[in-house]
Symmetry: C2
Subunit: 499 residues, 2 copies
Amino acid sequence: MRRRLTSLSRSSLTALFAKERRNYGISYCTEHQEPPCPQIKTEIPGPKSKELFKEMMGIQQCGSVQLFSNLERCAGNYLADADGNLLLDTYTQISSLPLGYNHSALLNAFCCDSDVRALVNRPALGVFPSDDWPQKLRDVLLSIAPPGLQHVMTMMCGACSNENAFKAAFILYCIKKRGGKTTFTDEEIKSALQNIPPGAPNLSILSFKGLKNNGAFHGRTFGALATTRSKAIHKLDFPSFEWPVARFPEYKYPLEEFKCENEKEDKECLANVEEQFERWEKKKPIAGVIIEPIQAEGGDNEGSPEFFQGLQKICQTRGVGLILDEVQTGCGPTGKMWCHEHFNLPSPPDLVTFSKKMLTGGFYFKPEYMPPQPLRIFNTWMGDPSKLILLEKVIQVIKNDNLLQLVEETGKVLKCGLYKLECEFPAMMNSVRGRGTFLAFNVVKPNLRDNIIKTMKQNGVLGGACGVSSIRLRPALIFQPKHAEIFLDILRKTLRQLK
Amino acid sequence: MRRRLTSLSRSSLTALFAKERRNYGISYCTEHQEPPCPQIKTEIPGPKSKELFKEMMGIQQCGSVQLFSNLERCAGNYLADADGNLLLDTYTQISSLPLGYNHSALLNAFCCDSDVRALVNRPALGVFPSDDWPQKLRDVLLSIAPPGLQHVMTMMCGACSNENAFKAAFILYCIKKRGGKTTFTDEEIKSALQNIPPGAPNLSILSFKGLKNNGAFHGRTFGALATTRSKAIHKLDFPSFEWPVARFPEYKYPLEEFKCENEKEDKECLANVEEQFERWEKKKPIAGVIIEPIQAEGGDNEGSPEFFQGLQKICQTRGVGLILDEVQTGCGPTGKMWCHEHFNLPSPPDLVTFSKKMLTGGFYFKPEYMPPQPLRIFNTWMGDPSKLILLEKVIQVIKNDNLLQLVEETGKVLKCGLYKLECEFPAMMNSVRGRGTFLAFNVVKPNLRDNIIKTMKQNGVLGGACGVSSIRLRPALIFQPKHAEIFLDILRKTLRQLK
């Protein structure tokens, strides 16, 4: 059955969902509910969104809210807002919706009683997990583990996942420093409670910045925030750890035209990493290095496979943990399940963190990063089993619908189209880059970038900004070539309007 | 219809749940599914739990796991384990289950399509919330807000809630320091990205320790962990902020016998707080104070209403934020929705954080703590709407079933029974304390404490440890006097066995 709902009436969709949920197990493609193209009825935000915004401002600071959605009418790649507008969504809730909106596999995910019980009886997973939990970890998280990694901890969000990966790196670093000893001195125990060395040692985590200070984003809790180097507004007025920062490569585009320059950039950045190790050795030795395969929030800055291979070699030589933050790149958007699979690393990364499209937070790790004692990487909930139930469905859909292949195909259409636009509008945009549908381009000025995003929205496409002056594409994994064409048409129209 | 299932067979319960879910709206008390008393068939952990433990140890460090549960057979106040044992649960997943296991109101929570959509289309709440979100915040979170507070932010866990409350305190402190100015200098912007002052200022948060170093617990992310002062194993090998710590009152019991001594203790502790303000003024000024109404993890250490009134006065005089961490005390276990309602504070606390029984993390705050700019207290998800759907049901049940009154009644039976046991076994236990069913007592030696918990478990009661040598009660809000009697009988039996 293929049918298109041009008018997504409230009652017809409700009836449809109700029927679907009864017929659990019957495959039903969300695409059928999508409109053929964006439908814009009001300015955005429209009057209803504006009213809701005022209401919410009475409760909390929500100045970052762009619009309010109507979840009942959202479908596939289309976000419906409170004012009846239907927007093609290339930003997908800050890159966190793997299958778009109202995917039938997810709407049906909790039809089974045992899954409902996992949802409402949330356990303290580190103390009283349910008897199906080890199996669930294997069937869901380990089934898609980065090659070579067979251990995983669950957490709740990206920041918490990164912070616990830091902890794992600190623990192993300290064990090595003690010559393999896994016990503590009385002085260490006492001083740890006072937040001072030796129990709370002066160690650091190295992260990366761009040339224009637009760099890493690893989250906003205080440990993660100390490694975040993207925007001052995330950090102002908050005390932080004085921790080292190295230069992330900044390439010239198109890559193939500037091969020599970019190779030189890689070498300089790797030399800069070595420099930081030397500089901080006495002050606050580096116990771990955290890096995004593509610096997303910081501007979709790419590093080459050679850069990442070189970085891994440095970390191995120095005996410190390399943490790949795949919170935004993980779960398929680059055309592979994990972006670092593009890098041909000689051995697996030490730790790989995830969240967003994975729906649960957590991190994979090499066995030597398992702490010798319990309760060191621990919290009350340690994740949320209900998120693994959803993730299991997501993985099934990715496999059954060959979504990684779709990402590659759609990515090609998108990138090719963006290259064309770059040629058509060289005074407005450049530096098209990325992998799969995880793509971006630069706009020549920040104001123009903001204006393009605003005008695109009014033309029916929801887009995302990143870095100083970039636009990033973060569509769901179900984004098809036909959606790419709509996006490209609207971007072209927008660029013409603003030319 | 009242029926008791003495044999909780897999199929009959499944059928029951299925029927319940179809008959959404029909009230059905979970109690009916409870066994009349604990049923112990194997040693605990039993052979199945032990096997699962081995399996899970191959995936992650899970040495803190006590047993594996069978969620299908859990009912009300009873946890069923993988080996067929049914334990009366007085610890409830580290105090995080408000209504016990498999409560019908929660099993039925997602029968409505709109709630399913909120569950599977998780938004970035700070950018594209759904159109029912402001109403949801009002109907759910603000309907039970601490008296005088009308603002709330949602987060995902207790640690993250505390860290964001720190941020709110830092922001207001810095605005005051700038004489009300809400803009930043270029130097501040530049230095914030480098993690150094003035952009990342040398400010601190004051927390509290006990006399024996067993003190505050505010979570495990790096900012929260710097204020946590309970156990060294939570902190060892992790760099921390050198932040001030003041003495939490340590009372003599019974309270009414040692009125003078305890009043003196309050005064000394408040003087110690003042001392910290002076001592840290030059080094790292205190911008906020965080405290639990009852230090839970640290040993169920109580502070008197007078102590908290005095602390609030100091914070007001000094112009810094008072953060009440109600992560464990919030949502009813002390007989009031918020524990600080027992303190008769002249004005509301500046910030009140929550998580655990509230199912969602977050914090209430006075309007002056709303940051002037967006994106300062922010992250991708900003909480999880599906948790508010569950919390809404929890609040309905608390109101409809008068659970706060039940907590008081059951608490009286429990406390009275514990006093009796304290008289019967003075060489083993003392210092019975607490409010509502949020109760604890000391055991004379840590080893004996651990042994009591282990033996109680074998006798059918799941209990929790806290502090150096205490046992804490954290039953669900549906714990009744009859459950209290079972607990007390088994504790008495256990004490006799170990005498």
